[in-house]
């Protein structure tokens, strides 16, 4: 296990726009770091640079304090799990898991005991003699994880490992991976475009857009104190409401902080007049869409209200209602979109 450190990594694929445009990131030993960003933002390319499948155009990469710029993938000691798992279809599960050990010419007895250990750890001992095509999606994912772990890697890289699972399985797999990572204490870099995965699993999250890191922080920091408009609108569902301010710059607030005035009960709160256009009842919550008097906004303003405790008359559609946001929940951004620190 080792820390992963990158310094100003740049990768261009011949075109003018670099896929990775100067990423510097420090992942301490044992941390679960999530790289979050929309598709095409360069997060997968960055991951492939770390494991050595791509070579960076410039910049340094250190694993466990050693510069590995010139090292081939097999010498870096990292393990990677792919989106479609990349299992070897012609091998049994046992041979799939033992493949990384066989390439390193580990003695046979040791291979057997390690395969045993990894398969017990992931609860796939009964599948060892099957082939990948005979496994379900969840089982394949565990086999891929076992194969990644069996040689005790310096770091584990995961490239959207849950995107091939159905929604229900994804939730449980999320728990498993996280619990498992905590137990083994392995430095993990996890790439995803799914903010729920990022928020739920990451010790820290690096939000990436257009090949650059926009913000690195704990899930709470990312959510509560977004560094710029991109992070503010990318994280959170529905995203943060952004309205242009008269004096220039932007004002942002989360939909769950935008409530009927009566529900806030704080006189110092910022008041707005809100016209409800549409309302969706989702059981545990109610999403209300509309416009705010006196403010320009690209998207409709949303409010997320607790489903059961909303007075019907405060959200009647087509009418203007007094809504409010606590001052502490307001976020200000300058004209170029960067956060203005109010405290």
């Amino acid at each position: 296990m080792a820390a992963v450190l990158t310094r100003n990594i740049v990768k261009t694929f011949g075109g003018e726009v670099p896929a990775v445009n100067g990423i510097s990131l420090a992942v301490p030993d044992g941390e679960f770091m999530v790289l979050l960003g929309p598709s095409g933002c360069g997060k997968t390319t960055f991951l492939r640079i770390i494991c050595g499948l791509e070579k960076q155009t410039s910049g340094d990469l250190l694993i466990g304090g050693n510069n590995v710029n010139e090292m081939p993938p097999r010498a870096r000691g990292v393990a990677m799990m792919f989106q479609s798992y990349g299992l070897y279809p012609h091998y049994t599960v046992r041979k799939n898991i033992s493949f990384p050990l066989r390439t390193q010419r580990v003695p046979r007895a040791e291979i057997e005991s390690k395969v045993e250990w990894a398969s017990q750890l992931l609860g796939i001992g009964h599948l060892l003699d099957r082939r990948p095509r005979q496994l379900s999606g969840g089982e394949r994912q565990r086999v891929a994880l076992a194969r990644a772990l069996v040689r005790e890697p310096t770091a584990l890289l995961l490239d959207e490992p849950l995107s091939n699972l159905d929604a229900k399985l994804r939730t449980s797999a999320r728990q498993e991976i996280k619990q498992f990572q905590q137990r083994v204490g392995l430095t993990t870099i996890y790439v995803t475009h799914d903010q729920v995965e990022a928020m739920g699993m990451g010790d820290r999250i690096a939000v990436i857009d257009k090949g650059k890191i926009r913000q690195v922080g704990t899930p709470i920091e990312i959510y509560n104190d977004p560094a710029d408009l991109f992070v503010a609108t990318f994280v959170g569902a529905p995203p943060m409401n952004i309205v242009a301010q008269n004096g220039g710059g932007y004002l942002g607030f989360r939909p769950e902080n935008f409530l009927p005035k009566a529900m806030i009960g704080d006189d110092s709160a910022a008041e707005f007049s809100f016209r409800v256009d549409r309302s969706e009842y989702l059981g545990s919550e109610r999403i209300v869409y509309g416009v705010m008097e006196g403010f320009d906004s690209r998207q409709p303003i949303t409010a997320k209200l607790p489903g059961a405790h909303v007075a019907e008359e405060s959200i009647r559609t087509g009418e203007w209602h007094p809504f409010a946001v606590k001052k502490s929940s307001l976020r200000r951004f300058d004209t170029s979109g960067n956060r203005i620190n109010s405290h």
Binding site: R48, C51, V78, G86, Y88, H90, F99, T103
Partner: protein, 309 residues
């Protein structure tokens, strides 16, 4: 309200929508192919089976049944055994060479380089050139006096003019020449097969192997090759069937010589049955291909089923 469709009200004959019925349409569409196979493959096969157990020659066109006498006579003929051995050497030698060339070619053509599309199109040429034309060109290259290959070897100082190889005059070299030409004809096909197979291997699997510590050779022989083996075997079946029954290169290049060293079953059957007019023996010789090919095809198909992934 607009009328979208009106049911047909007047009574129609029960044959009116015959071609709309799936089973009928299927039969109509597949019938020409079946007819074709029955008339042009099945019938001649039955005919040749009958010829092989008769005493039919073009000088004495009798349908007299002689049992397995023709086969017995053929098997007692030592040149026939030699022909059978030649056929195996020719078939498997050229397939092996073709596969090796094909794999190398496929790997070269996988890497991007300027003009790759052009080269990919060009590589199909040996497959597309008429066999007669190609063989005549090769015949000049293997000529005892004018061989450009010999000339090159001499110019490079590898052989002396005095002991230059007599390509088509030496029994072993003649077989090598026939094999080289056939491999040359076959390898574009092998390249296409390998290219199709290799590009179908998911990049994730190859990347996973790279991360797992596999180098170039291990990736190729433990991951890629086993994964594309089924499609390669299919290509090989085609190659073996076509080569085993082929007589054109031998006919055009060596006429089976020198001293029968390049004679193959197809050529021998043609010589005996058509040129010499001994139809019954010619048919019997040709029929020797049948069990051999059957065994090869069954073995290979079984192998694929076992390997299926």
């Amino acid at each position: 309200m607009a009328v979208i469709a009106e049911p047909i009200t007047k009574p129609v004959s029960r044959f009116h929508f015959l071609l709309d019925r799936r089973d009928v349409l299927e039969m109509v569409l597949v019938a020409p192919a079946i007819l074709y196979v029955l008339l042009l493959v099945g019938l001649p096969l039955l005919l040749s089976i009958y010829y092989s157990v008769s005493a039919y020659t073009i000088y004495n066109p009798t349908w007299r049944f002689v049992g397995l006498a023709n086969f017995e006579q053929i098997l007692q003929n030592p040149t026939f055994i030699q022909t059978l051995v030649n056929t195996f050497i020719f078939t498997f030698g050229s397939q092996l060479l073709g596969l090796v060339l094909g794999k190398f070619g496929a790997f070269l053509l996988l890497r991007p380089f300027p003009g790759r599309k052009f080269v990919r199109a060009l590589i199909i040429l040996p497959f597309a050139v008429p066999v007669a034309l190609a063989t005549i060109a090769w015949r000049w290259m293997f000529d005892s006096l004018y061989s450009v290959i010999t000339w090159t070897l001499i110019a490079m100082g590898i052989v002396e003019r005095a002991d230059a190889p007599n390509w088509l005059g030496d029994p072993h070299l003649a077989m090598l020449c026939v094999i080289i030409i056939n491999a040359w004809r076959f390898f574009p096909f092998a390249i296409v097969i390998f290219l199709a197979g290799i590009t179908a291997v998911p990049q994730d699997v190859i990347d996973a192997a790279t991360i797992d510590g596999a180098g170039f050779w291990r990736r190729n022989y433990q991951i890629i090759l086993p994964m594309i083996l089924p499609i390669v075997v299919i290509g090989l079946i085609f190659g073996i069937v076509f080569t085993f029954t082929d007589l054109s290169i031998v006919f055009l290049l060596t006429q089976g010589g020198p001293v029968g060293s390049t004679s193959v079953l197809g050529f021998e059957g043609f010589q005996t049955g058509i040129v010499s007019g001994d139809v019954s023996h010619g048919a019997a010789i040709s029929l020797f291909m049948l069990p051999v090919l059957l065994v090869v095809v069954v073995l290979m198909l079984r192998f694929i089923r076992r390997r299926e992934i």
